[in-house]
Amino acid sequence: MAASHPQFDRRMARRQWEGRAFQGLCLLAVAVALALLVVLLVYLAHQGLSRVSWEFITSFPSRVPEQAGIKAALLGSIYVVTIAAVVAFTLGVCTAVYLEEYSVRNWRTRIIQVNITNLAGVPSIVYGILGLEIFVRSLGLGRSVLAGGLTMALLVLPIVIIAAQEAIRSVPPSLREGAYALGATRWQAIWHLVLPQAMPGILTGLILAVSRALGETAPLIVMGALTFVPFAPDGPLSRFTVLPIQIFNWTSRPQAGFHEAAAAGIIVLLVLLLTMNAAAIVLRNQFQRRPEG
């Protein structure tokens, strides 16, 4: 034991107690969050698991609750999210590269930066209005799956840009210097060193973006996605619906059978979300593991 000093009132017991109390509080928060999630999953499983079947996935919606399936909405969601991911990834990474590697820091880039950060917080319905005006009307794409995908791309673009910027910024400047010192052009340093190093971080951002796009409903309703689609999208200009819209539609029906279908739809949506995230995580680990780029 250290000698006690009159000017110190160390109160060890109380400090230890406070530490334990805080730890307990944090544990409680985790428990509440997990418990709610478990309740949700159990409820869903109880309500909908019996409806989840190959038939449910491969059937189109129907007036008869027991025959209603989710094929059109599932395909619509996959189309929309794929288009959104490809477009947002391309535009987002290029934007981030420009802002981090090419642009000179001045008031103009600072304004752009502030705007991108703010765009991430704009309500999604505003993107729906934007998509309706630009893609549906001005570009004449109609209320198509392509217009929906592009609208979703705009919605998640800020997320991708910000994640990509952070990933690019975390690549040590010494790597760029090493490349320049060998006579690399800026483009070569970016392509061969910066982007491969930043890719895991960029893909993490893409996972978040895809998860967001998969769950969003409002912008697609605004730009005119259908709620009852008895056909699969047959091309980029086909009309479409997505899972969240289909689920919302079913929950607002009075028949209990549709409520079961909604619960089953949510299970399918969750599985799709987990699959896409898992795919992106596998891809990310590939980038992290390989020694040569």
Binding site: R105, S174, A181, L182, G183, A184, T185, E292, G293
Partner: protein, 257 residues
């Protein structure tokens, strides 16, 4: 101070970062196939001067240089010169080893690849690693990550990487400051060997190192508001045994810095 066969020369070179002057009025010759050391206290502009020789300072915003830097008589800061084009002729090794997060082979092959090398890449990688005295240690694991090497090995890998693009000059910015004494000696031996084929400029804060390896020594010292200036330049032997300026003598005898 004029040597018969300079490969790099500066003429009245001053460098500014914004309003701050980093070095002023540097006139210096770097002799071909010799090792030139730049010594001086911290913050006197040694690295700034070194980075003028391959225009690495261009990457810093608000950088501005006046005067001339001549490479084989050609002004490196002339508007017609593309900095990427001179950087493969004037290689650089940095203070901290900065191998790329790639395999050992790909680290050495990086420069040749981006510069459009069309010969036998495996041969070039091998000869570069041999010249950097690293081949024996890594020849059985060329595909392992360069990050698995020790600090000293990483620095020799960075030297091999620089050699692979066939430079004429190698700039070294305190290449041993993050290495242990044994790795430092290995790099110094290597520098002596390389000086038969390459011209080397080394920045060091280690006076013993300058005395051990260099043929010529420049002593730089910061002056109020003007940044670093050359206090004395000459053959290393003379600078260390018979300095003309009392500030040089004070520095090399360890009275400040």
């Amino acid at each position: 101070m004029q040597s018969s066969d300079p490969i790099l020369q500066t003429r009245g070179l001053s460098v500014y970062y914004g309003n701050k002057q980093a070095v002023s009025d540097i006139t210096l010759d770097v002799v071909r196939h010799r090792i030139t050391a730049i010594i001086g206290p911290s913050g006197c502009g040694k690295s700034t001067l070194l980075r003028c020789f391959n225009r690495m300072n261009d990457l810093i915003p608000k950088f501005r240089a006046t005067g001339q830097v001549l490479f084989e008589g050609r002004d490196l800061y002339s508007p017609t010169v593309d900095p990427t084009e001179i950087r493969y002729q004037i290689g650089m090794v940095f203070q901290r080893p900065n191998p790329f997060p790639k395999s050992i082979f790909d680290n050495v092959a990086f420069g040749p690849r981006i510069n459009g090398f069309r010969g036998n890449l495996a041969e070039l990688v091998e000869s570069s690693l041999i010249r950097a005295a690293l081949w024996e240690e890594v020849k059985d694991r060329l595909t392992s990550s360069a990050l698995s090497l020790s600090g000293g090995q990483q620095q020799r890998l960075c030297i091999a990487r620089a050699l692979a693009v066939q430079p004429q000059v190698i700039l070294m910015d305190e290449p041993c400051s993050s290495l242990d004494p044994i790795a430092t000696l290995a790099i110094e031996d290597l520098m002596r060997e390389l000086s038969t084929e390459y011209s080397i400029v080394i920045v060091t804060h280690n006076m013993q190192q300058a005395a051990r390896v260099s043929d010529f020594t420049t002593f730089l010292m910061g002056v109020e508001k003007l940044g670093g200036q050359i206090i004395e330049y000459g053959e290393t032997r003379l600078i260390f045994t018979n300095p003309k300026d009392e500030r040089t003598e004070a520095y090399i005898t360890g009275r400040f810095g």
